[in-house]
Symmetry: D2
Subunit: 257 residues, 4 copies
């Protein structure tokens, strides 16, 4: 069966010994945070402390957004028919696409292309931003990463950007998307940078490959989907009709950390 051998650089499995990217998993356990090990698995090295802090915040930012996102509704819809946990999660993950969560990929593509041009030519970032906005307007398509159904000033974006500044990790990705939002504002059409756009900009500045763009949103949201699965089977009867916006929050009132 020559020619079928292949290679992996993720995990080495020997009897009673597991190496993840070169580190013994039993030594990582108890020593290193889950979000750092996620970074290790995906990128191949442990993050710096600053990178770890930012990745951690990204993962926390998108864990849940209530009952209206399609991924939560798809998970609850499957759960309501008696699906096992993993099938309900899969149905939810299958609803993370271009128009929900998946804008991170498109937004990274837009920013990377813009920055490529920026580096090649002697242009201002604001000129790049203007060209991007005008191209989208001419094609009458939405700019990925801008605008939100509910938030006019997305609190997750605000926090991610201020944290990235503190950690000295903001770079051209963040600068470009802010220029884009700024140019948009100058046209009298303020649209907030949504959490997808913020994550896309930060992943650009963290030098994460675009192929992994949607990875962080998916990893972040899976626990949220599981919370919805569990609430659905615990509180509701099977085969109910799930109205997407007729739901009231009855959890704890605001409490301090």
């Amino acid at each position: 069966m020559s020619g079928t051998t292949w290679n992996t650089s993720i995990t080495r499995v020997k009897p009673n010994e597991l190496l993840l990217r070169g580190y013994r998993i039993d030594k990582l356990m108890g020593s290193v945070g889950f979000s750092q090990v996620i970074y290790l698995a995906l990128v191949g090295r442990l993050p710096t402390d600053a990178e770890a802090a930012l990745i951690n915040a990204i993962l926390v930012s998108s864990i849940d957004h209530g009952t209206t996102p399609p991924s939560a509704l798809a998970t609850r819809t499957a759960a309501s028919t008696g699906a096992p946990l993993n099938a309900a999660v899969a149905a939810g993950v299958l609803s993370i696409n271009r128009f929900h969560g998946g804008a991170i990929f498109d937004c990274m593509g837009m920013l990377l292309e813009g920055l490529d041009e920026y580096k090649k030519n002697d242009t201002e970032l604001s000129e790049i931003a203007k060209a991007i906005v005008e191209r989208h307007r001419a094609e009458k398509v939405r700019i990925p990463g801008l605008g939100h159904r509910i938030h006019s000033d997305d609190p997750r974006t605000v926090r991610l950007f201020s944290l990235a500044d503190e950690l000295k990790l903001s770079a051209d990705g963040v600068a470009l998307i802010q220029e884009i939002a700024q140019y948009f504002r100058s046209l009298g059409k303020a649209l907030p940078i949504n959490v997808d756009g913020a994550i896309a900009a930060l992943l650009v500045d963290l030098d994460i490959p675009q192929a992994l763009a949607n990875a962080f949103f998916i990893i972040s949201r899976v626990p949220g989907l599981i919370a919805h699965y569990h609430e659905e089977i615990s509180r509701e009867r099977p085969m109910r009709r799930i109205h997407p916006d007729d739901c009231t929050y009855d959890g704890p009132v605001e409490r301090e950390l």
Copy 2:
């Protein structure tokens, strides 16, 4: 449309404000680790420091196990046909069932039933363990959480149990599965407690509901599946035949933390 209103206690969404189980998400970001926020989302309260450390180690333990697990192969199979990231992840998650990862649910059920009997009757744990083993032997079914295709002494189990001891979180769940393994050994048929069994026992001792049994394995493994997706599309040609055990590790040699 009376009668359709429903409730959620997970997340309250208002314009520019998100509360997860009562905490503002933007305040959790940068302050609290992802694994703690996962616990918060699933359980409804932040974990103690000891609980957080144990949950973190559980999530790190199962992030990847190389290329042979069916979930990694299913993700790579889908990736090889050109699936987008989320579809490849979904295919992998759909391969986490009773015989792979999903034994945690069955094992928790076995332990909870045993401990229920233990609390009701004036019996020794070792008697409960013996009865469980003999019942499985009579029915010729495998005991969930015992035995591994590769490891005779699973390093993840060893680490999880020693950590739980240090953190003073081991209780009857761990004691019972150890009695079960011990009785099995006394029959001359040593089978290690695998990582599923270890997680099941710890989730029992952490008082996590059985309906969430498989949640932690799934949350842990999704990043590993994404690493396989990314490696597959980066290193391999499309539509290759993926031989499940003809793969060689060519990543970093063992390195220290």
Copy 3:
């Protein structure tokens, strides 16, 4: 790599030649109906004309049931986020479980168990039926295959049973579920045999293995899910909130064949 060789009896693939269960696929094409070839693939032989007619009617019966079934809603939810066709279909298929479509499996199990007892003991079918109903009442669980959210006399059941009679394919499976419905009626609680129950009874009488119970519903419904996918992306804007019962039919009025 000894010990890894395995066998299949479904399809033999040679260059330029494909045998399905012994028949050349290019000869089946144009000669034999799709529903007969489905039966061939699943059962291993071509159906008789009567069997073919009944399987065909079963497959037609469940192709769609409007916008309220969870499988249609899950497919539309995924489609609305920009999912490709196959991912939207998968999300729908993952919503076919015990409480939607998947009752066929449970109902077949109930009927097969009842008939097993019937053959072993010298009992009337009506006694078996009574025992089944009383057991479910005592355990306060619903009888699979009985009752429908909308139909008091499911037109698909009526047609399937009359067709099976015409084709002389009704046997003990149909008789038993009718006895069950009859006994229920005698308690003053009329519940119709729903399409799941009718299919389950007919699959019993067709001698289809229970492991394939849900196969026919899934095969039947996939085209319906695709119709919903296509309508969703053709008529609706992305990321809309899909209200499960606020939908009006605007297709053709009733027309004759």
Copy 4:
């Protein structure tokens, strides 16, 4: 809740009455073949006899292709872990993408674009074909619908095209893909039109919208995936390593219809 009402033209559901695209489902049952009802559900009208015959042959053509296709392997991989039928089918469907089955979409796109140009300009089809091939060669990308891992003359393509000729349904779509294959041959690089290419050309000639391109392959293959699921759980032990090309056919030898 104004503004949320929406419409469907697929199925009208009233108590005890179901209309599919205007036809009562109970009247379709027993009168009309499943493949015709599939066409009705997707296209909105019943097919002519010729269209019905061709759609039926398309659906039969792709029902299975043995154990090596990724969709079969993904279904078996999930089945081997204990997945329920629907989850195993979903894993298989998620492996139908650009490089397996999904080429129909890309191929239809290529043909429709070519025919659009053909109708607009006063060009020969052979010129269009030449331009298409040369463009793909310049971009060093494969032409969708051409070439097969195993078949040098795909028997399904041969049969589909001869049937379409008999039925007088071949038109410009078939002519264009044949010109493309012909031009390729003239370059000394004979590549057969594979079954994806044949279906794509026929769907163009049947005037099926491109958004439904992959629908027919998926509908056709789902029963095949279920046959693999059933064989896997019937003949194999759980959690085996599934070697993709180490499988031998042990089904019936060739038999006549």
